[in-house]
């Protein structure tokens, strides 16, 4: 018994369907072919029971004839009929398999295409999009939603069609056998539908309760387990267990009731079917006695009655499936239809000279920059500043002050709401994104490495780098020695569960990556204190090394960095509150002064 679920409804069924159709379009010819074949096979199959009925009649008449001293059962004719029926079933099985092949392959191709489109789309979406979406949400569109579409797209459509052909065909056969019996059957079938609908309606409440309490109990378990330390030390076990028991009781109740209702559906509809079956046998029997029907026709008819019930109940279920599938498709399409990053300008500023060398000095100018992640909540109101090549800029402020915002704007991950940013006195919007980003090097606090060897991860900074260049970059980043201590050296695989490489060492690897890229402008995010002392020293040293001769923006946590910076940008709650060097800011006795001093006071 499939669990009855509450199907989610798509918001725009038609629109989504239309877009889905555009994915199916290349396969229209194949789909039409498959549908024609499918209908053929279904019709052939529907004819089967009728023929078997005829065989039965022949046997019945034959045997009576035999008793009356006649020639008996006509095995020759029966043999011919049987061969025909077997052939029909055989051919229709082959057609079915062929149709399945067509459908599945179309579905697989479409899901491949959808996944491919999503993967490309993600790289074209503005970062802004991901601020409001969790990674899990995007991931579930790639896997669950695409899977749902892939599993159901072709099969549901063909099943609906199949069911309809079946209903019409079977009804036709039934009427052709006996109109009276068909009427009898048609009274019983809707009755079982009504019973089913009634039970579904009754049980819906319990199913909702079930998922509600399941969610609540899972929430409670999650909380209690993640806070196990506290539960233990605060002697909270009893209280926690009491709450668990409460929820568990409710869950038990809902689980039992919902399961019972859905379990009762089958016997009840089954009973009604049996009533219909008996009615058909009875009335059919009388019809045969009165010579209005042949004995084999009862047999065919009962087969048809059973066949009719199946597509009717499956259509209801299919409608649910289609709805969830369209809802899944809708989620995928909302992602695919999302507005992309603004296109690059037509004639971007060149960053290389005639010889193909990057020709950038590293001047950075902020001019009346105005920005908010949400345009209604501007966090940078009016920020202007000039940074000469080679200068060190430290960005400081309490946690959550939006220190990374500035660097994100610099690399044009977000578009400004007003003002402009210039690199070498040219608006960053006049560069192609690719060129602009190639000017920058970036080391983030939470070092990002992908599944692959250390070498591959470092080469990421410059795909055409030689091995020697990579080693050199690692030497500069003070990580060469460490890498060599690893069993596989530069070929050590890095993956989620790699042990033996600490967070700090990972950051060193990303510094090496930046060295390899040799950028004009640097963006550095210092590690916080979760790194052990020795590695921390190494990180600071290599960052220092990296800063030499480049314009650098450092998100600073360390006083030493701040004090030595040429320019300090002080942020609070996303706003730039002060700009200047250490001495001038200290003299000002403003926000920076307080922030700085609070570290030493007791």
């Amino acid at each position: 018994m499939p669990p009855m679920r509450i199907a989610e409804k798509p918001k725009d069924f038609k629109g989504t369907f239309r877009q889905l159709a555009s994915y199916i379009k290349p396969y229209y010819a194949r789909i039409i072919l498959s549908l024609v074949l499918m209908v053929t096979s279904t019709v052939m199959c529907i004819y089967g029971p009728r023929l078997i009925g005829n065989v039965t009649t022949l046997i019945a008449q034959g045997i009576l004839d035999k008793y009356a001293g006649g020639s008996g059962i006509d095995f020759e004719t029966i043999g011919k009929l049987i061969t025909t029926i077997l052939a029909i079933y055989g051919i229709s099985a082959l057609i079915d398999y062929f149709v399945n092949l067509l459908h599945v392959n179309i579905a697989i191709n479409i899901s491949y295409k959808l996944r491919d489109d999503i993967s490309k789309k993600i790289n074209r979406l503005p970062l802004k999009y991901f601020d409001s979406k969790t990674h899990g949400d995007v991931l579930s569109r790639v896997t669950n939603d695409v899977d749902n579409i892939s599993n159901n797209l072709t099969s549901t459509v063909s099943q609906v069609l199949n069911s309809m052909v079946n209903i019409v065909g079977v009804l036709f056969m039934m009427i052709s056998i006996s109109f009276k019996l068909t009427l009898v059957a048609l009274i019983v079938i809707p009755a079982s539908g009504l019973v089913a609908a009634f039970i579904v309606k009754k049980s819906q409440k319990h199913f909702k309760a079930h998922s509600k309490y399941l969610g609540e109990i899972n929430g409670h378990v999650e909380e209690m387990y993640s806070g196990h330390l506290l539960v233990k030390t605060y002697n909270y076990e009893e209280e926690s267990l009491r709450r668990f028991d409460e929820l568990n009781d409710e869950l038990y109740n809902a689980a039992f009731k919902s399961q019972f209702y859905s379990g009762v559906m089958h016997p009840l509809t089954g009973f009604l079917q049996n009533v219909g079956y008996v009615a058909v046998c009875l009335i059919g029997g009388f019809e045969v006695i009165q010579g209005r029907m042949l004995i084999g026709e009862i047999q065919s008819f009962t087969t048809y009655v059973r066949r009719l019930q199946q597509p009717i109940s499956s259509i209801a279920q299919l409608m649910n499936t289609i709805q969830t599938m369209i809802a899944a498709a809708e989620r995928v399409f909302t992602l695919l239809n999302e507005k992309e990053e603004e296109k690059d300008v037509k004639d971007p500023v060149k960053i290389t000279d005639e010889n193909g060398n990057i020709n950038i000095q590293g001047n950075v100018t902020f001019e009346n920059v105005r920005f908010g992640y949400d345009p209604d909540k501007i966090i940078i109101n009016d920020f202007s500043m000039y940074v000469a090549p080679g200068k060190d800029v430290a960005i400081v402020g309490p946690t959550g002050a939006g220190k990374t915002t500035l660097v994100k704007l610099l690399m044009r991950f977000y578009e400004l709401n007003g003002g402009a940013i210039y690199v070498d006195f040219k608006n960053i919007r006049d560069y192609s994104r690719k060129d602009l980003r190639s000017i920058f090097g970036m080391v983030l606090q939470d070092a990002w490495l992908f599944d692959g060897t250390i070498k591959e991860n470092i080469r990421f900074g410059k795909p055409d780098a030689t091995d020697e260049e990579i080693y050199e970059a690692c030497r500069l980043a003070h990580v060469d020695r460490f890498i060599k201590t690893l069993e596989n050296g530069y070929d050590t695989m890095i993956s989620e569960d790699t042990s033996g490489i600490s967070q700090g060492q990972k950051q060193l690897l990303t510094i090496a990556r930046a060295f390899l890229k040799d950028p004009k402008i640097l963006i550095l995010d210092e590690a916080t204190s979760s790194v052990d002392t020795r590695t921390e020293q190494l990180i600071q040293d290599s960052m220092e090394e990296l800063r030499k001769g480049r314009t650098a923006f450092t998100i600073a946590h360390r006083l030493s960095t701040i004090r030595n910076a040429d320019i300090i940008i002080v942020l609070d709650k996303g706003d730039v509150v002060e700009v200047g060097d250490h001495v001038s800011l200290m003299e000002k006795k403003g926000f920076y002064y307080n922030l700085y001093n609070s570290q030493f006071e007791n």
């Binding site: 078997i52 065989v55 039965t56 046997i59 045997i63 001293g69 059962i73 049987i82 077997l86 099985a93 079915d96 092949l101 599945v104 392959n105 697989i108 191709n109 491949y112 993967s119 993600i122 991931l139 790639v142 896997t143 109990i217 899972n218 909380e223 387990y225 196990h228 330390l229 506290l230 233990k232 030390t233 605060y234 002697n235 009893e238 209280e239 267990l241 568990n248 379990g263 016997p267 009840l268 079956y277 008996v278 045969v288 006695i289 004995i295 009862i298 047999q299 946690t399 690399m411 991950f413 980003r437 970036m442 983030l444 992908f450 990421f460 790194v531 052990d532 006083l559 609070s598 007791n602």
Partner: protein, 704 residues
């Protein structure tokens, strides 16, 4: 499996009842085709006549029949009957008839006589059919000539003749037939009704039991996990324990429910159907062929497709992990202009996935058409071979129809049992995971006769404590000794992995020491009940954790906190601003995981929780890291005041030198060993590790 049986044991009677009910249900379901067969054969073909000797026949007909009976046997037959003269009435087969001629009415049953009558009845019938004059001398020879090859069919033929005999008597053949069909139909309905009743009752018991078992099991697992110490907890991951309590239990519930319904049903159904089918050994071999074909198809699937399932799962994981890489590394990927490389990587896996998926689907798709064909072909073949049996009266048409239905039941049951075999191992994974939890032996237990600790503050001492995680080779802490007196603040500092957080966890016995001992007021903490020990301690964890509820419930956390204590805790932890900010104040809701308050607020509230009850020991495990410097400073000042007053002992683990500068005792740890102990100024002078940490955070002038 043992686990499931253990949990089912208390419900043994119910399970037995369900088995009995299932048995009854199967019997009812499988009798229906028999009755249908009756309607078709007896009802329709033989006009409702079920016996092969008549209840009544006219004297004329009897005489004809007796013609073919040897003289010696005649009396035996006649003894069964009473001759009723014409004009009088009698009740025959529930019909009251007034006879127009003399009629023999059956008064007693005699099997031997019944058997004696069959052949003569057929002869008389044949004579009528063929128009043979029975008084002629060679009549008997002529008749037996036409009956050649029909020897097997005498029973059926006799019944056909009986119908004619009844008509001669004046009985309404139609009434007999209709009443037979109707009674049979009503019986079928009655049986179907019993079936549905039994089935609903069975479902009721099965669902109730399976839900109850699941609830009990869920509770047991939860209770067990709650009883775990951190040592057992760390053996599993938190997320794994969550799945075990949630998902795995749900799966087991489904398994039990399936076991109690379908898994019981299929074998009973299968076996009963096989018994029914075995009545016709001459055609039941068809089933073996059909099942054989299905088995072959399944083997093909098992050999070619099933191994690829794992590959598909792995590829799905790869797709996911690359997509995750996309998302996690988005900034870096874009900063390094590596979008193309990443897209190619994704396409590589996506294409492989498509290839494997196509291969598997193409094979898996064989199953559907093969199954349909086998079922259809079986029906057709049954008709063919049954026709041969019907021809020799070894089977009736109704029986053939019934046989077809039984055959379907056998095949379906077989399919189901097979599917079950595939499914059980999958559910067994969940069962095993639950067993692992339930069979875990708790390592930290209360002593038999716990010592009661005094009310007042005492000295907490580590005495040559060494700690190793169970099963680990390396010690996390080695030979740690120190003392913390009432009113003292002891701070721990060191790089990650130095063991500073582990020390803290040993105090409330979240882990037990491997060697040495920890004493409080001179008593080994292992001699005290955990509850009492915990009641001495207020703890704020490294990662501030808030629970669903409101601010008040989070600070109370199951304890009885007075308004005054609440106020004080909020004041010291600098949480007043948080509460002021909220409209509902203390009753402001907290969502799961405390997602509706900021990191700093979470930390302050979790500190308030630690302070809400007066404790002898307070532990702050890096609890000040998310606070800004100013708040950190104010909080510590307020905390000092409290300790001044209560003389409690405070343990602080910290990353920032500034947080612990003024501690009474700073313990510097490196790789699990104490490398320095003393006050800030002393350590700066004589502890190299401390100096390194300090210099990395503050410049020399600032430290001076």
């Amino acid at each position: 499996m043992k686990l499931i049986f253990r949990y089912m044991k208390p419900y043994l009677l119910i399970v037995l009842a369900v088995i009995a009910l299932t048995f009854v249900q199967v019997q009812t379901e499988l009798t229906l085709p028999d009755y249908m067969s009756g309607i078709v054969t007896n009802g329709i073909q033989y006009g409702g006549i079920t016996e092969s000797s008549p209840q009544a026949l006219t004297k004329k007909d009897m005489d004809e029949v007796l013609n073919f009976v040897s003289a010696g046997d005649r009396q035996t037959i006649l003894n069964m009957f009473e001759l009723i003269p014409a004009g009088s009435s009698a009740k025959v087969d529930d019909q009251t008839v007034t006879f127009k001629e003399d009629v023999y009415v059956r008064v007693n049953d005699d099997e031997k006589a019944d058997a004696l009558m069959e052949r003569p009845l057929v002869y008389a019938y044949m004579a009528k059919q063929q128009g043979i004059d029975i008084s002629s001398a060679d009549a008997e020879n002529k008749i037996s000539e036409s009956l050649k090859g029909l020897e097997e069919n005498y029973g059926s033929m006799a019944r056909i003749y009986i119908r004619q005999l009844y008509e001669d008597v004046g009985l309404s053949a139609e009434t007999i037939q209709n009443s037979y069909i109707l009674t049979t139909g009503l019986k079928m309905l009655g049986i179907a009704a019993i079936g549905v009743f039994v089935q609903i009752l069975g479902t009721y018991l099965a669902t109730k039991t399976s839900s109850k078992i699941a609830a009990t099991m869920r509770k047991d697992v939860f209770e067990k996990v709650e009883s775990f110490s951190s040592s057992e907890f760390s053996k599993f991951s938190t997320s794994s324990l969550i799945t075990r309590t949630g998902n795995d239990i749900t799966k087991i519930q489904q398994l039990i429910q399936m076991m109690m319904r379908m898994m019981l049903m299929s074998p009973i159904m299968g076996i009963t159907a096989v018994i029914k089918v075995m009545r016709y050994p001459n055609i039941s071999w068809l089933l073996i062929v059909a099942i054989g074909v299905i088995v072959c198809a399944m083997i093909v699937l098992a050999v070619f497709a099933v191994p690829k399932f794992e590959v598909i799962q792995k590829l799905t994981d790869r797709l996911n992990s690359i997509m995750r890489e996309f998302l996690d590394g988005m900034l870096v990927i874009r900063a390094f202009n590596s979008e193309k490389i990443e897209e190619e990587k994704f396409d590589d896996i996506n294409s492989t996935f498509r290839k494997v998926d196509r291969f598997v689907s193409n094979i898996m798709n064989i199953m559907g058409p093969v199954m349909t064909f086998v079922m259809n072909a079986l029906t057709v073949s049954i008709t063919w071979f049954a026709a041969k049996q019907i021809d020799i009266d070894a089977m009736t048409i109704g029986e053939m129809m019934a046989f077809t239905q039984y055959a379907m039941h056998v095949v379906m049951s077989f399919m189901f049992v097979t599917v079950t075999f595939f499914m059980i191992p999958r559910s067994m994974v969940s069962v095993k995971r639950i067993e692992e939890v339930l069979n875990t032996v708790n390592t930290i237990n209360d002593p038999k006769d716990p010592i009661a600790l005094p009310e007042e503050n005492g000295t907490l001492a580590f005495d040559h404590v060494t700690f190793r995680y169970p099963g680990a080779e390396e010690s996390v802490l080695e030979d740690i000794s120190f003392e913390a007196k009432p009113g003292e603040t002891v701070a721990f500092i060191g790089s990650t992995g130095s063991g500073k957080s582990t020390i803290i966890k040993l105090i409330p016995r979240l882990f037990d020491v491997t060697e040495g001992k920890i004493t409080y007021c001179g008593h080994d903490i292992r001699d005290v009940s955990q509850k009492q020990l915990h009641d001495k301690i207020g703890l704020a964890t490294q990662k501030a954790i808030l629970f669903t509820g409101d601010i008040r419930s989070n600070i109370e956390f199951g304890r009885d906190v007075s308004e005054e204590e609440m106020k004080e805790a909020i004041a010291i932890s600098q949480s007043e601003s948080i509460i002021k900010e909220k409209e509902e104040g203390l009753d402001a809701p907290i969502t799961q995981g405390g997602t509706n308050v900021s990191g700093g607020q979470k930390q302050r509230l979790s500190i308030a929780r630690a302070l809400a009850k007066r404790r002898n020991i307070y532990i702050f495990d890096d609890s000040f890291s998310a606070l800004d410097y100013a708040t950190d400073k104010r909080l510590r000042a307020a905390l000092n005041e409290l300790i001044e007053k209560t003389k409690a002992t405070v343990f602080i683990v910290a990353q920032r030198i500034s947080t612990i500068k003024n501690a009474d005792k700073i313990i510097v740890l490196n790789e699990g060993k104490i490398v320095g102990e003393g006050k800030h100024e002393d350590l700066l002078k004589n502890c190299e590790v401390y100096k390194q940490i300090a210099y990395s955070q503050l410049s020399k002038e600032e430290l001076a």
